[in-house]
Amino acid sequence: MGTNSLYGPLDPASDAGYTDAPPRMGFFTDTSVCIGCKACEVACKEWNAVPDDGFTLLGHSYDNTGGLSADSWRHVAFIEQPAASSVDALAVAAGGPATPDFRWLMMSNVCKHCTHAGCLDVCPTGALFRTEFGTVVVQEDICNGCGYCVPACPYGVIDQRKGDGRAWKCTMCYDRIGDGLTPACAQACPTQSIQYGELDELRERARERVAKVEGARLYGHDPDDGVGGDGAFFLLLDEPEVYGLPPDPIVTTRDLPAMWKRAGLAGLAMAAAVAVSFLGGNR
């Protein structure tokens, strides 16, 4: 373990012990060009043989998936909002061209493959591991379904599959990228909303893109954030929580040394209490 192993900027593959690791790979999901076709959801299910997650009508716009789960490794969110631009409203009032009175935000969510992955940190069996590409993958032959990774994820991504018992999530198509192929979701995306590539290059591309799109912001791109930067990051058009993302995620294990200290203190207090009880006077 290095000095930043629990928190702070870091190259995850070399921290995990890889000596000649390839460049870190990632996803840049540009929601400004997402058209909500859900090809990513379908391609992911097809390639990874992810089982059916039920047929439910949620009433959440066009979203009947609901969110990421053990059986949905890509999830397209649909948000209908009143249009934000007051300038356009004035133009309409003045008899200008009609503009839509609402806007539709669409976003394909996925596992973030965090630099500091809470799920990986807390996994007690070693089933979750860091790949040479810097991604985080569950080994299905090792996972014993203890479920600890599920509440440890600050994004609520990884999940236990009912009837199977093990934890499942996006692998960034580990079986494809090792052969130089593009992950299924990015391959299927018709608008290049999902872009796959070397993380450094994607970050550069995102910096250029965010400067060109009005009201856009990047999410998960910063190596100085609470998870050391995400391997899968986003360009968003509204606040993260509107898309179901946490506004300021911090990996829980950042505080682990402090937690063990408090536990040690409580343990000492416990031992002292017993000593006092048995040695302090004999009634």
Binding site: G145, P246, T252, D255, G267, V276, F278, N282
Partner: protein, 308 residues
């Protein structure tokens, strides 16, 4: 004891009100284990104290309870796994970043020691019993407190926020439940240390729980409302009753035993209350979004994105 609402009703945005972090998929097996693990630790400490100060009834009850509670713990832990037949995969690594891995090794070592102590108690081998008993007692504080780190080391908002005090709640709860065993099982000539243990354990537990329930802002809320609130209030009442009985009922075997039972019930209620409070905090996106927004606002004024 009613606290005024210090936090104004929170305004926040979300995706159709859906949760952001995922609630733990653990069943109440794990809440039950929090109790039985603590009981095993408290009983092992009681037994070691009884052995050291020549109080055989405390030693005997403590050792046997520790082994019984350990057996129950093992059942609960294995039963909660998605793949119980793979429980031994826990033993293929030792990982310091995983409180569950650390706990597995603590529990395994404790189990060996407690098993030797209880076996020697039944076979009347005092030297081996002492070795096992003291080894179990040495591991007991770790067994009682690591579970607090286990819950706190998650993104579950109200568990994580409680990390400074949770180990004291669990340590105190474990002491009180161990003391409860002594009060039930031993004649009044031997129970004096168990009474002190009950008072000290209850004090730790009540102090810690009070801090968790009052100092975490909006994240204290889940511990005050609904079922978790009822359980924690029940735990507090039962703890106070148990301590009162332990102090006032010295001469009565019946009152002592009832006090002990009350302390055990209190520990059980407190563990379930803490468990359920965390789950409730994960199910409502408010407890994820509002504190994180607050954190962004206070961190610095420069790169903050505020609502229109």
């Amino acid at each position: 004891m009613k606290d005024r609402a210090m936090v104004p009703p929170a305004e926040f945005r979300s995706y159709y009100g859906r949760p952001i972090v995922r609630p733990a998929v653990w069943h109440h097996d794990i809440a039950a284990y929090l109790f039985t693990g603590g009981l095993a630790a408290g009983s092992a400490l009681l037994a070691a104290g009884g052995d050291a100060t020549n109080r055989p009834a405390l030693r005997r009850a403590g050792r046997l309870t520790a082994l019984g509670a350990l057996g129950a713990s093992t059942y609960f832990l294995v039963n909660d796994l998605g793949r119980p037949e793979r429980f031994h995969h826990m033993l293929r690594v030792a990982k310091l970043t995983s409180p569950m891995s650390v706990g597995t090794w603590i529990l395994s070592a404790f189990g060996g020691a407690a098993g030797v102590a209880a076996g020697a108690e039944i076979l009347r081998w005092p030297r081996i019993g002492a070795a096992g008993g003291y080894a179990a007692a040495a591991l007991a504080p770790a067994l009682a407190t690591y579970t607090a780190v286990l819950l706190a080391d998650t993104a579950t908002p109200s568990w994580h926020a409680a990390y400074p005090e949770l180990p004291f709640v669990f340590a105190g709860s474990a002491l009180a439940s161990g003391a409860g065993v002594g009060l039930i099982a031993a004649p009044h000539t031997q129970t004096a240390p168990a009474r002190t243990m009950a008072v000290l354990g209850a004090a730790m537990e009540l102090y810690g729980a009070h801090r968790v329930e009052t100092t975490k802002g909006i994240l204290s809320e889940p511990y005050a409302q609904g079922r978790p609130g009822k359980l924690l209030r029940a735990g507090r009442t039962l703890t106070i009753l148990g301590v009162a009985g332990a102090l006032l009922g010295r001469r009565s075997r019946v009152v002592s035993a009832l006090s002990g039972a009350s302390l055990l019930a209190a520990s059980l209620a407190t563990r379930f209350g803490i468990f359920d409070g965390g789950i409730a905090s994960a199910k409502d996106p408010k407890y994820t979004v509002v504190p994180q927004r607050e954190r962004l606002r206070t961190r610095d004024g420069t790169n903050v994105e505020t609502s229109p």
